[in-house]
Amino acid sequence: MNQGFELLKKTIRVANSSIGFEDRLQGILDLLTRLEGIERAVLFILSPEQEKLAIKKVSPRDMTWEDRSLPLTGSWLKDLIKNRRPQIITQLTRKEHKAFLKIPLFKGFQSLMALPVEDDNVLYGVLGLLSRQSLNPDPKQLEQFSLVNWELAGIIRNSKIYTESKKIIAELSVLYQVGKVIGSTLELDDLIRRAVAIIAQVINATGSALMIMEKPSETVIVESEFGRVSSLVKEKIRQDILRQKGDYIINRDFPALFKTSRASEKKKGDPGDTESITSLMGVALHFKGPYQGQLCVFDKIGLDGQSNTHFAEDDLSILSTIGNIMASALENALTFQKMETLARKNEEMVKNLSTLYQIDSALMTNVSIDELPHIILEAITLEEGLGFNRAILLLADEDQNVLTPSAWSIQEKSRERSAGQQRGALSGQELSRFLINQATQLRNTHAEMDSRFRDITIPLNPNSGILAQTFLKGQSFLIQEAMTDPRTNKELVNLLKLESFATIPVMGKDKVIGVIEVDNFLDKRSITQDDLHLLSMLAHQAGQALENARLYDFIEKTNQELKVTRERLLESEKMVAIGEMASGLAHEIRNPLVSIGGFVRRLNKKFQDDAQVQTYFQVIINEVERLEKIINEIMEFYQDPRGKYKEWDLNRIVEQALGLIQKEIEQNNIVVRKTWGRVPPIFGDDSQLRHVFYNLFQNSCQAMPQGGNLILRTFLEKGANRSRVVCEIIDTGGGIPLELLHNIFNPFFTTKTLGSGLGLSIVHKIITRHQGEVDIDNRPGEGVSFLIKFPLAKEIQPFIKIKKNGEENHESNLNSR
């Protein structure tokens, strides 16, 4: 009784002590072996499947025992487990005890008392008490043992609850950590990197890997790993995602699973292949969006931190929970990333648009057809602009039916900017301003650039390569391999060393006016569709600007011509008015002059004997003659019988004028040298034209009274817009004194003692009337040369004929003669 009380007292004390569960179990067993007749106590724990009994504790402690389990064979054991009835075997010799006796722990004992370790609900195990004597407990003793077992069951139950809660707490803590990591960032890359690391840690795995694929395209959009992940594992993950495989655990040598796929990859000799993985566990990640992924951990680390153990279902459930959390976080991150990408794209577009706007405003501020192409190309090659390495603008020459380069630009990384201005910082209006400034400088530098570009001529037919095609079809091209592409013009490819290039048509108002070629021949950056898109927008603007400039240029030229014509017209109107006045005046003067002169001559005749009076009369006669001559000149000058205008050969006119002055030339010993060029006819009044040259020759003769050289030359001066027939008259008469030069065309100025002084001014008037020009090259002390230029008859005839029509109305009157 005392003994029994003592046992229970101690058992309760041990069971409720603060030592560990294991120690408490051991302590109770030790108490049992102190009892009389009980030499050994063994505690078996029933496996969760209730199939085996595993040895948990043995007393006395100095016993060494194998960690092995006992199958539930033998009727007595079954009875014990099933009916929870204590079994007392007094003689351990029977056959049915054989399996039991194989265990060394049980050898040498005669009797066994097996008691169920249970509480009111669960059977946890079996307590075996062994003795070398025959055990024969009384009911009281049995009840004591049952109470002890009750305590043991309590300890085991508590321990189980404790372990369970610890695990749950651990899981919660894992989830907390993972959640914390996942919630800490929306940055996708960062999130994944952190997630795989923490997952490997919390699962206690050597490594982990995560992969997300986009469903429709089957492309990997996210991939991250922690630890060393072999290509085999990655391949498996990829395959699993494609096959939409669910959660799994593989606890064996991993590479053995992939014998076939491994064989095909052997050549690559990936070092990761040689390392085998003992365990692998993966969960599928499910997304609402069009993604599919897998989260994978491998090589579970044992508790001792060294040995590899296997993944358990618990691990999988944690991983699965983590996977779910991850999936939603990743989904957010992916959405965020997508939004960010969109925002970035937006920003890029805004930037591009702003660049285009700046370029556009640069283009709009300049209407010079010479500078515009350079602004356009600078915009294309400038880093702040479109940033291509090289650009060439070719414009169509419709007369020749070819494309010829109008401008070209090459990005120069080293190009220095004016002080304090960083190229990278160009933005907003600065870009626009920079482009305009640059264009003027570029025009100069490009003028002396190598002729490689200038000499390019591309016939506009479909066989002369991409540039011609771009023009003819009005569409852009993006060529990746210029050398091998059959469509390219190999000559040009070699010349420009093209590899990958793009061309884009430049549209005018309603037709293609040229082509822009771009390439990145320096940094070999590939040209994207986005680049091309931007370029096409620029090309559109460029086309508009070029068209505007062309129009403006045309308008300006026309304006200029109009201005000249109007000036001429004004002048001729003025001349007509003056002419009418002068002619009326001359006529009024002439009659009285004739009377005066006529009667003086009569007086002169009458007083033939009076020599003194005669000299007076002679003065009057001479003066009257002079006045009459002036009147003749004025009238001759101001009447312009344009109706008489015809085509004339300038050579003949000059020759005729020369004939008129032959006498004076010979008298003055002047040597004439003539070079008649082949010149097209001019249009005008021959008598007036002769007068021009007669007058000029007269001038030369008067300038060379002691002899000299008179050089005459005619030639055709070809100009861009119009050509002129030119006669050059060079004398060696010492030139015109500088102080007189500006006056020589003044009608009331003369240096001559003879003549009216109208000479050169009449020359000037006649030439202007014929829409010609006079250039004077005066070399004081040496001589003077006049360049008399007339337009070609075929160019001005249409304008002058108008007057003639008026005359033709009178033609009938003439016939009546």
Binding site: V594, S595, I621
Partner: protein
């Protein structure tokens, strides 16, 4: 003696012409305008051998007079003698037998008269 009809509205010139041509041995008849010329021509007994006529004259100018003369008396030579040198090229004067620009030196006019009367 050859008879010359000279038409000019300037009295001073009429006098000059008359004196000069009478000195040359011509009979000179004067008229002040085209109408006078035509009325003088109405007398068939006194038809002139030659007519010298100014262009700008009152009542009837030399050009229209010239047309009538050339219609009615095509055999009488007419010399136009005007201060307007530009009319020399004008078709309306082409019907005249000679065109002389007025000058105080009458040599050119005299030579023309002599030539036309001879012919």
């Amino acid at each position: 003696m050859s008879r010359i009809l000279i038409a000019d509205d300037e009295e001073a010139l009429q006098r000059l012409y008359k004196e000069e041509f009478e000195e040359e041995g011509y009979e000179v008849v004067l008229a002040g305008n085209g109408k006078e010329v035509l009325s003088l021509l109405e007398d068939p007994s006194r038809l002139p051998d030659l007519i010298v006529m100014d262009i700008r004259m009152p009542e009837m100018d030399g050009i229209s007079t010239l047309r009538v003369i050339k219609e009615k008396y095509p055999r009488i030579p007419v010399i136009l003698c005007s201060a307007y040198s530009e009319f020399k090229q004008d078709f309306s004067t082409w019907a005249s037998d000679e065109y002389v620009v007025k000058s105080s030196d009458l040599t050119e006019l005299k030579e023309a008269v002599k030539r036309l009367i001879k012919g």
